[in-house]
């Protein structure tokens, strides 16, 4: 019995030592991001910049990688005047993007990080052609357009530069929230599409539907949808997708296209799809 007491006592004692060490260390909890309500009618540019700084350090998880040398695994954004360095980067022959100024460059670097990779910071083996950075509007970060604009505002303001992004108004915010905007539309109301193809791209239909064949992605393929449905049925399936759901598919299609699309856009998409008969 004494052996049992001694050995169990030793084992418990050692376990408690490890527990003690764990409890002596700084105790930090990693909270999941929570939705914060911001009163946009009372929002000032200073608030917007502060919001950007908070996003940069927390929800955006930017500081995981963007740290001062030698700790960083990505360029030290906070220690660099991003507005001043934009000209240099846009002039670099390796630059592949479409940005024309600091705001659009910062936006592009967040949404399409591989458009320009700072030398030495590319993915291993990609010869700086591919960035290890995730697009901030996609999972797991999932910043909204307003949040992306707030970060741009912060990165412009922190070095005393003029903030060129527009402060979100309640109306614009509502519009953005509704549109669940595609990349490139941060902070501004999206322009109406000019053709059926453009409208399809604008509302990212192809994320769930194959347009040129009948392959099933998330929703049914639309390669021959015109042979199955008439114009009225197509129209109904867009503006009220849950009225009739293709058999075996989940009710996953957004139900707010009626509020988002212009009448002209809806008709262009209906026409485009109705022609897909063969």
């Amino acid at each position: 019995m004494s052996v049992l007491i001694k050995t169990v006592g030793f084992s418990l004692g050692l376990t408690l030592v490890f527990t003690g060490v764990a409890n002596m260390l700084p105790q930090v909890e990693g909270d999941a991001p929570v939705d914060v309500k911001v009163d946009l009618s009372a929002l000032t540019m200073d608030d917007f910049v502060a919001m950007g700084e908070d996003l940069f350090n927390n929800k955006g998880t930017c500081t995981l990688c963007h740290k001062p040398a030698p700790l960083g695994r990505a360029p030290d954004v906070q220690g660099t005047n991003m507005v001043a360095i934009t000209t240099e980067r846009l002039a670099d022959e390796r630059y592949q993007g479409k940005a024309t100024d600091a705001a659009s460059y910062i936006l592009e670097s967040m949404l399409e990080p591989s458009a320009y990779v700072v030398a030495g910071w590319g993915k291993k083996g990609s010869d700086d052609a591919e960035s290890p950075m995730p697009a901030v509007d996609k999972a797991p970060i999932q910043l909204s357009d307003i949040e992306v604009d707030a970060i741009i505002a912060y990165l412009q303001a922190k070095d005393g530069n003029e903030v060129t992004v527009v402060l979100p108004s309640p109306d614009a915010a509502a519009e953005v929230a509704k549109s669940d905007a595609a990349p490139g539309g941060a902070g501004a109301a999206p322009a109406p599409a000019a053709s059926g193809e453009e409208a399809v791209a604008k509302y990212t239909c192809t994320a769930c539907h194959a347009l040129d064949n009948d392959d099933t992605l998330v929703g049914p393929g639309l390669g021959h949808v015109g042979a199955r449905l008439n114009e009225g049925e197509i129209r109904q399936s867009i503006i009220d997708p849950n009225a009739v759901i293709a058999e075996g598919f989940p009710a996953a299609m957004p139900g707010d296209f009626a509020e988002k699309m212009t009448v002209r856009e809806l008709e262009m998409i209906v026409k485009l799809l109705a022609e897909k008969k063969q």
Binding site: T7, S11, T15, T19, Q27, L64, P132, P134, A139
Partner: protein, 637 residues
Amino acid sequence: MMYRNDFASGRSCWKPSLVAMLLTLLLGFSLSAMVQAAQDTGGESVAQRIAPVGQVWVEGEPAPETEPVAEVATEEAPVYVAPRPTRKDYPDIGVSSRAVVWILAQMHLFFGALVLAVPLFVLIIELVGQSTGDERYDDMAHEFMKISLTGFSITAIFGGTLALALFVLYPDFMGYMMRVFGAQWIVYAGLFFLESFFLYTYYYGWNAMRYGNLKWLHLTLGLLLNGAGMTIMVMANSWATFMMAPSGVNEVGAIVGNIWEVMKGPLWNPINLHRFIANIAFGGAVVGAYAAFKFLSTRDPAKRAHYDWMGYTSNFIALLAFLPLPFAGYWLMAEIYAYSQQMGITAMGGILAWLFIVQAVLIGTILLAANYYLWAGMSRTEGSSRYQWLIKYIALILVVCFLIWVTPHTLLLSASEIAALGGSHHHYLGPLGIMPAKNIAVNLMLIVTFLSFQLYRRSDKVATVSWAPVGNALLVAIYVVAILNVIFLGIYFGYFTNTVYKVGSSVAQVASTLVVIISGIVIDSLMFRGARTLPSHWGRIPDRAQYALFALPIAFTWLMGLMGYVRSSVKTHWHVYTVMQDNSPDNFIPTIGYAGNMITIVTVLFLLFVLFMFWIANLGSSRQPVPVRAAAMEGVA
């Protein structure tokens, strides 16, 4: 105490047995191929299968008129996206659902690791016994199986309870996982039947299949037991790695690949390797504690000799498996970084970074305990005096490296403390807090631990080959160059170049350590071939050394719990990373203190269940004496 037996007669009959083994395997493959073929054809008739070829008729004759074949209505498989449960979709049972699942999962994993590992090294020990003809190995292997047998039932009980808890507490998540993995669950359940069959025939058939051809049949059963166990492990691993780095699904979680594409995510094989090695180390450590307990409980010299040898063998297994473990860990972390740099940094440099200080304490404990046991064990052999002068230097290196490893990088300081320190980092100790210093420390600790191991192995031998001095000089040179290389790479690339080179240099450091281990094993095995053996006295070891054999499983168990915490936490607020968000009340990363308390709870629970397992193992071999009164009555009658 050597038991030479007629194992040799078994050796002469190995060829037919080997053929039988091969036939068994061939039969297995043929069956699986047949099943596969049946699946491929989908059970269609011959006419249906040739239909796609087209119409067939005799050459030169007109084509026969046939009825047009009605188009077969194809039904597209339904597609399911990952559910998006809200807070109210998670049942509230009054206590933290995560804590419940945490405890059950960890207990299932502890026992699962144990019962997967033990048959693995039992098979190897049995094979050693078969090839050397030393029956002690066979008996020890049998005893290892005996003490872990109850563990299989305990694993199944916790596995079943865990599944139940997950279905009740996380219904949407489990529903999604069931959809993604589909029929794989049925295969998984089926494998349990196979494993149970092989387990019981292997264990209970031990003495019935002890010699000759039957021994090879027994070894085959052991191999099949391990095959079933390993398959179960890698299948279960695929669920965990799918949650960390999903594959075979698109960005909304709809299944776009087949089951193989779902399983073979980027982290699957690194986790498979890491768990495979770690299980062996863990299993060795747990059975070592059993041997230590039995050693301390008896004064019988023969039993003490037996359990000393058993404890030594267990420690040998644990240590041998533990040495390559950090390298498997490197691979896993490299793959995590390659999959998502954000996830990698969350683990290593973000909120979880403090956890690695605790890990350093645990691995330091393991290395110090293992080394101490080896040093104490050197007292068994008279030839060990040749090497004992080195122990103090090894101990010094271990302690210094351990202290470097536990030096934190960032401290939470008050303003006055920062002023007193002259900055947020200490002027001299600050540089010891970052990874390059720790990489140097870890590699040096591994190198000197291998040195302890090598010295111990040499203690009872004297090399007789003529080139022994050259071999020794070569070994010393390899040690010196490797140590200097590890230090140089760490300092130069760690402090004088950027992060990319810093990470790259750690690979070269690991390579240096591996060169020492591999060349040490190769040179020693050649140099001590036909060596003169010095007397060795099993059982001649201080009692206090046995406590090192208790420190090992406790530290291993705690370490496994800690690594489970980090593996699960890097997913942050996702059930399935980037695909299915965790909206439960527990969707945050708990503090290291809370995690430490949880890990202690499961470690103590595990300790209690292991004691129960050992008690049951001994209960089977004890027999109640005939009561005195009854015996007396029988005498009167």
